[in-house]
Amino acid sequence: MATALTRKDFVSDQEVRWCPGCGDYAILAQVQKVMPELGVPRENVVFISGIGCSSRFPYYMNTYGFHTIHGRAPAVATGLKLTRPELDVWVVTGDGDGLSIGGNHLIHALRRNIDLKILLFNNRIYGLTKGQYSPTSEVGKITKSTPAGSIDFPFNPITVALGAHASFVARSVDVEQKHLQDMLKRAHDHRGASFLEILQNCNIFNDGAFNDVSDKAIKAEHQLVLEHGKPLVFGKNRDKGIRMNGMRPEVVKLGNGVSEKDLVVHDETNLSLAFMLGHFEPPMPTPVGVFYASSRPTYDAAVNAQLADAKKTQGPGELRSLLRRGDTWSVK
């Protein structure tokens, strides 16, 4: 194993060409920073992307990289991971690439639980094509293609992933350096399909879309940091929490007889809870962290186990006898 790699070892010689101020810079920096800590030889790391601003990502990583076509990165990554299970395969996608044109591949990669690390940069806009609404844009949004406001009901990436039976579902924010690093490490260490939504600011076409969770002045009031085994507390003074009122979650103020004991305790292995938190939208706080993490067999391991088993029970493939099966006869 390569030792003592540093962030610089993962920086390619290509000039980064995102718009100045783009949230993608912050994400790139955290990924490059985390890479040396993962203990994976650089040559075994592959970044695969589709099309869109986020999908330029592989060019800037000094690893193996493949900038493919719109929406298809999970499918390309699948073929690579099945035949080369020892590789660390990352997929970089966006809200348009992953949830619109490539929605089919995303849900099936998650459903199969292929050991891919899928990073979905969600900026709720089409940036590369200069500002049309995306499948995560809010209803009513005025964009170049929706001058009268979008009438398109948006996807919630977290609940899409949960609905597709992803075994690891998390969310972070581009500017939350430490949290993002932690989530990247968690996503990496999970065996199976990891889905990490990264809320990312497009300062050109959708500036401030996630201000409530990224603006230092106000984010504490809007961001609910999920931590396994801990009560759901948030607020600048950590004085608010989530309590169940019958079957419905509600925000309560701590004090006046309400204590942390009354709050919901986060459990990453509870799918129902994950769905509930996944559906939190303002005025509820926006959860960040790991919604759901569970272990189930991965498709890539199962495929290779079947191949190994076939080799064990039938012996290695022998071409001569294979060709001579079936209805055969000899002519003298």
């Binding site: 040559e43 035949t83 060709l323 209805d327 006869w329």
Partner: protein, 630 residues
């Protein structure tokens, strides 16, 4: 070859016949078609009869013809399924234009197939299938068995159900199970008629029904009683014999085009020392390749049934990026969906084989029927300048060689290759002289490992192919992608002149594959003549037979059958110019014709058919004769 004596005697004893055999008349060749409802097991009967005929030493060709519906309503015209076998003591090129023997299990089968039957042909009819209800479903207003409309044929009415029922009566099976033995009764009868060796059928029944002894016994009895019925009943005056053909010595296997395609890929992967990866989405008539390859995991073969056609090809590209032999299989509609990803493979220059098992289009068209109308899509059906080598198989067994060759070229030239077959080849079968794996060409895979001087687009001087540098190799970390890339480094580049250079380099690389194509074989007058018939793909046998027949009549007609359609052979233009007339026969509106006219400025004419059915030899002959007169 006659029935093995022990079998004949045994059958004769079991049937209690007098032992006096009926006379046997020798004929050079027969074409038999089995037709019935899609639930009648006619495909199985046809395939078993094919095996018997191969074992009898005949040369054979087959044509299955089945409906797209899995089970259309019983007794309807839409539900008719047929299987034609041509078996001969001479070389066989086609399944035959017209059956000489037609087995019709019901009125619908008769109605659909009768127009093809030769005048005075033998018609074997399951009389009990001709109920009033079935006649009505088939659209008959009067019963053809009684209205003299069949007078120009030799009609043999057999009570198949009654005879099958009495053969298996003691076994106490229900009516439905008994009915499902009828195909073996008929197979037995036809096996007797042509004095086929029967062991392959009884072996098949024994292995197929190993787990259900009562069904095994029932089918064996049905088969034997059908055979005995032929011998003893006052029905046929004589049996027929077709002597073995002159066939090159060796080990033979009866093989369909789809099986041969699958095996060709496995063989290529083995020869390259790399795993095979198939990414595919089920589609008629390509799915059998996926089924077959999924059984060869120990080679190793990865089969990935993808979520859609696009993921099928995209996953194969991903596997190729990782160093596997990546392939995808589909038919026309799937080709459309894969087009963008194929363009990516062209751009990033990774090896990949796309198999298009063509079917009649456009759109869903006639999924079980063959056509050759995807040629121009294979040539041009992508955005941008994206040339791809195209190879087309001529016969079911040829699918093996073409699949193998497609992989060899893909790897050597770091390019996607399109393999064209069609539904006719896919399901048709023929005897295949099984090759010795040692004699197959080597497929050299050399991954780049040396970081010294490595550049992703530094090309081989002769082939112009770029290095295959796979993830996991220290020091070769690099990025590839769909964006225009710089010569040598592969870095993203928007330089206008660089873009043109890269487009031209890729085009030159593909054109250079012509050096892999052996000199074109000309059947007929190599130095030139009146007319050259040009074809490609599954029309091979028909075209060859038509030319053979016309040459026997003294006509100056020659035949060239192309295997590589892109690039075209280097000597092809020169050959075309040696003939006064060039005719291009294809199951489309004239796609190769268009290419030939454009590339060589030759005033070639077309011979075309778009009916979801192969040409008949007679059709091609008359078209050629007309062209010769004109």
């Amino acid at each position: 070859m006659a029935v093995p004596p022990e079998t004949a005697q045994q059958l004769a004893q079991e049937s209690g016949s007098s032992g006096k055999r009926k006379p046997v008349e020798t004929r050079p060749q027969f074409v038999v078609r089995f037709a019935g409802d899609s639930g009648d097991g006619m495909q199985l009967a046809g395939m078993q009869f094919t095996t018997e005929s191969a074992l009898a030493g005949n040369d054979i060709a087959t044509l299955p013809d089945f409906p797209a519906e899995i089970r259309a309503p019983a007794g309807t015209l839409a539900g008719v399924s047929g299987f034609q076998v041509n078996f001969s003591s001479q070389q066989v090129f086609t399944p035959g234009d017209e059956p000489m023997v037609l087995v019709a299990m019901n009125p619908a089968a008769l109605k659909v197939n009768l127009e093809d039957l030769k005048p005075n042909g033998v018609l074997i009819i399951d009389k009990e299938g001709f109920t009033e209800a079935n006649l009505k479903k088939a659209g008959y207003t009067s019963n053809p068995l009684t209205d003299h409309s069949l007078d120009k044929y030799q009609v043999f009415e057999v009570e198949v159900s009654k005879l099958t029922t009495s053969a298996v009566r003691e076994l106490g099976l229900n009516t439905r199970a008994v009915s499902r033995c009828r195909n073996f009764f008929v197979l037995g009868l036809v096996s007797w008629l042509f004095q086929r060796p029967t062991k392959s059928v009884t072996d098949y029944i024994e292995s197929r029904f190993k787990k259900t002894p009562e069904l095994m016994e029932a089918n064996l009895r049905a088969f034997k009683s059908g055979y005995n019925y032929g011998e003893t009943a006052e029905l046929f005056a004589s049996a027929y014999e077709v002597k073995p053909a002159q066939i090159a010595p060796g080990f033979y296997r009866n093989i369909t085009g789809n099986s041969a395609t699958a095996l060709g890929f496995v063989a290529a992967a083995v020869k390259s020392g790399r795993p095979l990866f198939l990414g595919s989405y089920p589609i008629t008539p390509a799915s059998d390749v996926l089924h077959e390859l999924s059984g060869y995991k120990n080679f190793p073969v990865y089969t990935f049934q993808a979520e859609d056609e696009i993921a099928g090809v995209a996953s194969a590209i991903g596997a190729a990026f990782g160093g596997a032999i990546g392939i995808t299989t589909t038919s026309g509609p799937g080709m459309n969906l894969k087009a963008e990803a194929i363009g990516l493979a062209v751009k990033v220059e990774l090896p990949l084989v796309i198999t298009d098992i063509q079917r009649a289009g456009p759109s869903t068209g006639m999924p079980t029927k063959p056509e050759q109308a995807d040629l121009l899509m294979a040539m041009y059906g992508r955005h941008g300048e994206s040339p791809i080598p195209i190879i087309a198989a001529a016969t079911p067994a040829d699918c093996f060689d073409c699949a193998f060759e497609a992989v060899r070229v893909a790897v050597k030239y770091m390019t996607p290759v399109i393999l064209l077959t069609d539904g006719h080849l896919a399901n048709g079968a023929e005897p295949w002289l099984v090759p010795d794996p040692e004699q197959l060409p080597e497929i050299k895979v050399e991954f780049r490992t040396d970081p010294n001087g490595f550049m992703p687009y530094l090309r081989d001087e002769q082939t112009l192919s770029r290095p295959w540098a796979i993830p996991g190799t220290p020091g070769l970390e690099h990025r590839i992608g769909g964006l225009s890339s710089e010569h040598l480094t592969g870095n993203v580049s928007y330089s206008p002149s660089n873009n043109e250079m890269m487009v031209r380099l890729r085009a030159r690389k593909i054109a250079g594959i012509a050096r892999e194509i052996p000199p074109t074989e000309i059947f007929g007058d190599a130095q030139g003549g009146e007319l050259l018939l040009v074809g490609w793909g599954s029309t091979y046998g028909t075209l060859r037979e038509a030319v053979l027949n016309l040459r026997a009549k003294g006509k100056s007609v020659s035949h060239v059958h192309l295997r590589w359609l892109n690039p075209l052979p280097a000597d092809f233009g020169d050959i075309l110019r040696r003939y006064k007339k060039v005719m291009v026969a294809e199951m489309n509106m004239g796609q190769l014709l268009k290419m030939i006219r454009a590339d060589y400025l030759i005033d070639a004419v077309g011979c075309n058919k778009i009916q979801g059915r192969p040409f008949k030899v007679s059709e091609v002959e008359s078209r050629i004769l007309r062209a010769l007169e004109g």
